[in-house]
Symmetry: C2
Subunit: 599 residues, 2 copies
C-alpha cells in the first residue's frame, strides 16, 4: 500500500509522487494550511495540505493524533532556509494530493508529550512502543540479534534448538514448573539455561553450537532481571578457554563497531582475586577511577581494635578508598555513606581528610586520628597517593563485608561525585574464579555451575582440597555489567562425580538426577567449553538504558505480571482437574483477596 517509509524520504526524491502509510504524530493549522507530522516505523515526515486540494483538505480537517492514514503526495525539497535540522527528513516536505483515513483513534490514554507512569506504559505497551525512543530500542535489539546470528553462522556455529519443556536443573535458581496432563503428578521445568543439552550436543559431535534462547528463573526480581530472559548460548568442542574468549570477544567488539561505531579495543583480563581486591566486585566498572587499597599491614599494630582486629585476622580485611577532592564532603554526606555501607554489614565508616598533604600527620583530620601516628599516616598517604583535598575512607571487617561494602561504596561515590566516565566503554574479562563458595553452614556451592571444570587439577586433587580450587571459568564484564559468562566443562565422568560429591550430592541422587549425564560422559566425550551472553543486558548497554524493561517488547513487572494481558490469571477449574492439581487453601485465600481488590 506504500511506496516509501516516511523516515526514508529525502531530497533525492524531489518531484516524485509517493504513497505513505502511517500515523498522525501531530496536526497543526497554520495560515490556512494544515501541517501533519506523519509517522511510521522509520521516522517522521512533514506533510502540507493546501485548501486547494479540497478532498484531501477536508479529510485533513478530521484528523486527530494517532489516526492511521494513507497519503499520496509529492516530495518537495525545502529551500535551504527552511530545512529543519532537527528532523532526519527535514530537507523535504510532502505536498498532499490524496488523503485517506484508514482507522480512527480515540484519544490515547498515554500522553506522548510528558512522562507517563511505568504502570500506564506497561498497560498500554502497544501505544508506548509507538514512541520513537521505544521503537528504536526494539529495532536495535533486532539488529543485535541479527548481527549475532550472522557472526556465528559465518564462524561455523550451528543454530540448534533445545527443549523448553524439560527436567528440573540445579542451576541454583528456582525453576518454573509445568504440570503434565499425560503423566499426572509429574512436572516439566522450564530451562534456566540449555546447559546440559548443549553439552550433550557436543557429545553428539556438533562441534560448534549456538542458540538465541529464552531462559527462565522464578526469582524475586530486580530492575535488571526478568522471569524470562534471552540468552545467546554458545558451546564449542576442542577449543580452549582462551580460544572461546578470543572468538566471543571478537563478536562483541564487532557488534559494538557495527551497531554503535565504537571500538572497544582489546579486553583486559583480570583474575577474580584482583577484581575483588582492587574493585570490591567480580564485575568491576572500570569507568570508575576509584580503587580499594589494602592497608592491613600498615594498621595491624595500631591501638584501635576496629582496625587492628581485622588487620590481624586472616579472614579479615582492611582497605581504604582515596576519593580525590573528597575533603569537601560534609559531615552529613559522610553520615549518609556510613549508612550506605551499613546495608552491606559494615559497622561504620572511618575517614581521614587530607587538608594539607605536605604537612603529613598535622595536615590530616580524622575522628580516628588519635589512634594513628605519624608513621602510619605517612604510610597511608604514600600508599594511597593521596593529595591535598582528598578523603580516605576506611573499611575494616571480615573479608566479605569489606569487599562488598567498599565495592558498593566505590560505585556510589563514582556516580555521586561524577567521577565515573559515563561516555566511556570499559570491557574486561574476569577469570580464575574460585570453584566453590562456602555458605554459613560450611557447605560448598558451585560458584558457576556443577559442570564447570577445575583449573589444572585432577579429581583426586580437587577432592583433597576443594575450597582452594579455582575453576576454568570466565565472565565478560562491560561497564560493571556481567554480560556473559562461561567455562570449560568437565568432560569425564570421574571428575563430574567428584564435583557432585563435593557439593553433597550422594551417589543415589547423582544417579537419579544426572544419571544420563554421567553415562553420556563415558562414550568419548570431547573436551568442550562455552559461554552464554545475556542478550537483554547487552541491548541495555547498546541502548544506554539501565532498565531491562526498556529493551523487551512485552516485559513483566518486578512482581512478574503482565499488565497488558493481566497474566498470570486464574485457571479454569476443569483444566486443573485434567492436570490433576489443585490450588491449596492458602492460595485460595489469596485469590479471594485478589478478587476483592479487583472490585
Amino acid at each position: 500500500m506504500r511506496t516509501h517509509y516516511c523516515g526514508h524520504l529525502n531530497k533525492s526524491l524531489a518531484g516524485q509522487t509517493v504513497e505513505l502509510c502511517g500515523w498522525v504524530n501531530r496536526r497543526r493549522d497554520l495560515g490556512g494550511l494544515i501541517f501533519i507530522d506523519m509517522r511510521d516505523r522509520e521516522g517522521i515526515v512533514q506533510v502540507v495540505v493546501d485548501p486547494d486540494m479540497a478532498d484531501a483538505y477536508e479529510v485533513a480537517n478530521q484528523l486527530r493524533n494517532e489516526f492511521c492514514i494513507k497519503l499520496t503526495g509529492v516530495v518537495n525539497a525545502r529551500p535551504e532556509s527552511q530545512v529543519n535540522q532537527d528532523m532526519a527528513t527535514g530537507e523535504v516536505e510532502i505536498l498532499a494530493k490524496g488523503l485517506e483515513i484508514i482507522n480512527r483513534s480515540d484519544v490515547l490514554p498515554l500522553d506522548f508529550n510528558q512522562k507517563n507512569s511505568e504502570e500506564q506504559r506497561l498497560k498500554y505497551r502497544y501505544l508506548d512502543l509507538r514512541r520513537p525512543e521505544m521503537s528504536d530500542r526494539i529495532k536495535l535489539r533486532a539488529k543485535a540479534s541479527s548481527f549475532v546470528r550472522r557472526f556465528l553462522d559465518e564462524n561455523g556455529f550451528l543454530d540448534i534448538e533445545t527443549p523448553v519443556l524439560t527436567k528440573a536443573t540445579p542451576e541454583g535458581a528456582r525453576d518454573y514448573l509445568v504440570p503434565s496432563r499425560v503423566h499426572k503428578g509429574s512436572f516439566y521445568a522450564l530451562p534456566q539455561s540449555p546447559q546440559l543439552f548443549k553439552q550433550l550436543l557436543m557429545m553428539s559431535g556438533f562441534d560448534r553450537y549456538y542458540q538465541i534462547v529464552k531462559c527462565f528463573r522464578d526469582e524475586d526480581l530486580r530492575a535488571d532481571r526478568q522471569p524470562e530472559f534471552t540468552q545467546i548460548d554458545i558451546e564449542t568442542s576442542f577449543m580452549s578457554a582462551e580460544q572461546v574468549r578470543e572468538k566471543t570477544e571478537a563478536m562483541i567488539r564487532q557488534m559494538w563497531q557495527e551497531l554503535l561505531n565504537v571500538d572497544l579495543g582489546e579486553f583486559p583480563i583480570m583474575s577474580f582475586e584482583e577484581a575483588a581486591r582492587r574493585f570490591g566486585s567480580d564485575k568491576p566498572d572500570l569507568r570508575n577511577p576509584l580503587e580499594l587499597v589494602d592497608v592491613a599491614d600498615i594498621l595491624k599494630d595500631v591501638d584501635f581494635k576496629v582496625f587492628s582486629g581485622p588487620a590481624n585476622d586472616e579472614k579479615g580485611r582492611v582497605a581504604v578508598i582515596r576519593v580525590p577532592g573528597g575533603a569537601a564532603l560534609s559531615r552529613k554526606q559522610i553520615d549518609e555513606y556510613t549508612n550506605f555501607v551499613g546495608i552491606y554489614g559494615a559497622k561504620g565508616l572511618a575517614w581521614m581528610k587530607v587538608n594539607d598533604r605536605a604537612a603529613g600527620f598535622e595536615g590530616v583530620q580524622s575522628p580516628v586520628a588519635k589512634f594513628l601516628n605519624e608513621e602510619v599516616v605517612a604510610q597511608l598517604l604514600e600508599r594511597t597517593q593521596a593529595e591535598t583535598g582528598d578523603i580516605i575512607l576506611f573499611g575494616a571487617d571480615s573479608k566479605r563485608v569489606v569487599t562488598e561494602a567498599m565495592g558498593a561504596l566505590r560505585l556510589k561515590l563514582g556516580t555521586d561525585l561524577e567521577l565515573t566516565d559515563k561516555a566511556a566503554w570499559k570491557p574486561l574479562w574476569v577469570i580464575d574464579f574460585p570453584m566453590f563458595e562456602e555458605d554459613d553452614e560450611g557447605n560448598l556451592h558451585a560458584m558457576h555451575h556443577p559442570f564447570t571444570s577445575p583449573l589444572g587439577l585432577t579429581a583426586e586433587e580437587l577432592i583433597a582440597n576443594p575450597a582452594s580450587a579455582n575453576s576454568n571459568a570466565y565472565d565478560m564484564v562491560i561497564n560493571g555489567y556481567e554480560v556473559g559468562g562461561g567455562s570449560v566443562r568437565i568432560h569425564n565422568a570421574e571428575m563430574q562425580s567428584a564435583v557432585f560429591s563435593i557439593l553433597g550430592i550422594e551417589a543415589d541422587e547423582q544417579k537419579a538426577k544426572f544419571g544420563f549425564l554421567l553415562e553420556a560422559l563415558k562414550f568419548g566425550t570431547p573436551p568442550h567449553a562455552g559461554l552464554a551472553f545475556g542478550l537483554d543486558r547487552l541491548v541495555m548497554l547498546l541502548c544506554g538504558t539501565d532498565n531491562i524493561r526498556d529493551v523487551i517488547a512485552f516485559p513483566k513487572t518486578t512482581a512478574a505480571a503482565c499488565l497488558l494481558t493481566n497474566a498470570p490469571s486464574l485457571a479454569n477449574p476443569a483444566s486443573l482437574e485434567e492436570l490433576a492439581i489443585a490450588v491449596t487453601a492458602a492460595a485460595k485465600a489469596a485469590e479471594e483477596t485478589q478478587a476483592k481488590d479487583a472490585e
Copy 2:
C-alpha cells in the same frame, strides 16, 4: 585444536600436514596396517597408521569405536585406481604421524550398523545424533532457519521476541499452564502462538515482524505433532492477502532453491471448495493424480437408495474415484479398502470394474450393476474418462463423510498403487476458507482463529449470515502437508466483537478475556495480515522424512516424555508448597503406580 574438519579434506591439500579431532567411526587391521575411519561433524576420512610410526601405531592399537581422538597426519592423494567413490573424502587418505586418545568410550548401547528401536534412540539421543543421517538433518534445519532469517532481515522484517509466560489464549488447543509463585493460585499459559502479541506489534507500528519461536499445545500427539514446536511467525501491516502470499511464497521458493536446488515454480491457488471437491482435503497432495469426481446428478434417479438418497439430499454427496489399472484389484484388496473408508464413517465402498470400455454397459462388472442402466454407465464412463482396465470406486453419504473418506482413500490408493510421484514437489495455496465450522450441537467455531477477517463482509452482514461467510485466510500446502497458514486480521473493534458474539463469547467474557485487544483496536490500528509456518514440517519435507522427531534434536515421545532426561518427573514437595498447588489424590495414585513400575 584442529586445522581442518575431516569431511573437508581433499586432494588440493595433498602433502600438507593436518591436525584433526574427532571420533573413531571404524578401525580395521589389514596387512599390518591399521585403517581408521575418522569422523567429525563434516564427514569421514580414512587414516592409515603404519607400524613404522611406532608411537601412533601403539595408540591406534588401543582404539575402539567412538574413542575421541586427535590426529596429526599428512594428506595423501590416492592413486586414481584407489579413489573411494562412496566417500566424499575418497580421493585422499591421511598418513598418521601422531595420534592421541582424548577420551575413551565404552561400547555403545546403540549399534550404528543396524536399525535400533526408537525408544533406545531417544534414550541415547546424543549418540543417535552422531549418525551422519541424523546430524545432517539437524544441520539442514540450522541452514533452513538461517536462510529464513536472512531472507526476512533483507526484506525489512524485524525479529521481535514475545513472551513465553503469557495468558491463556483461545487458539483451540489445550494450554500448558505454569503456576505462579508470586500470584498464588494464578497461572501463566505457554503460548500456542504469539498471535495477539504480533497483532499488538502491528498496532505499535513495527510494520513487519517475524520470529522463529517455540509454541506449545497440550494435545494428544500424532507422528507429526510435538508438545513444543517451532513456528516461523510473520506479520505485516498495510499488505493485502495477495502481497503476503507473494512475499512468503518467494521465501519458500528461494529456500527450496538454495537448500535443495529445486525450483518449485509458481504456486497454484485453489479455493477450499475446489480442494474439497476434487481432492477431498483442505491440504491436497497434488503429486497424486487421482481425483474425486461428483456424480450425484447422474445417479439421482437410480433405483438404489444408497446412491439416490445422498444424490437428492443437499447435505449429501456422491463422488467417485477412477483408478487407472484398478480393475486388477482383487476382491480381498477391495474389501480392505472398504474397511479403510469405514474408519471415516463410510458404510460401504461400491465399485465398478471397466473390463471393456468399448462394450459400454456390457463391458463393466459391478455388484451394483443391476441398479444401473446403459445410460447411467455411459455417463459415468464419460465423466470419469475411464478406460479399459480401470476401476471406479463410489462414495455416497453425507458431504462430510464422502469428502473425508474418499479424500483419505485417494491418498491410500496413491501410495499403495505407486501412483503418487514421490520425487515431485507440488506446492499450492488454499484460500477462501469458510469463516466458521458448525459442530454437532450447531455451535459455530472459528475455522482459523477468532482474529481472522471475513472476506468482503461488514460486521452487520457477517452477523446476518455467519455460516456462509468465507474468511480472508490462506494455507500453504506442499505435497499434502499444511506447512503454513495465515490470514488478514480483523482491525476494528466492531468486527472483532461481532466475531466473538457469533462464537458465543458474551460481552462480559469478551471484556475479561480480550478487553485489552478490543481496547487496542480503538487507537488507529493499521490493516494487518500475517502467516505462520511450521518450521518442523518444512524441515521434514526438506529432509524427506515423515517423522517429526527426526528433525528435532531432543524430541519428546508421543506420550510427551523425554526418554533421555526422564522429563517430566516428580516435583520437590517444597516447590509445590511454594507454588501453593497440590497434586490431587488421583494423580498420587498414578504416581505410586509409576514408582512401582520403575521397581
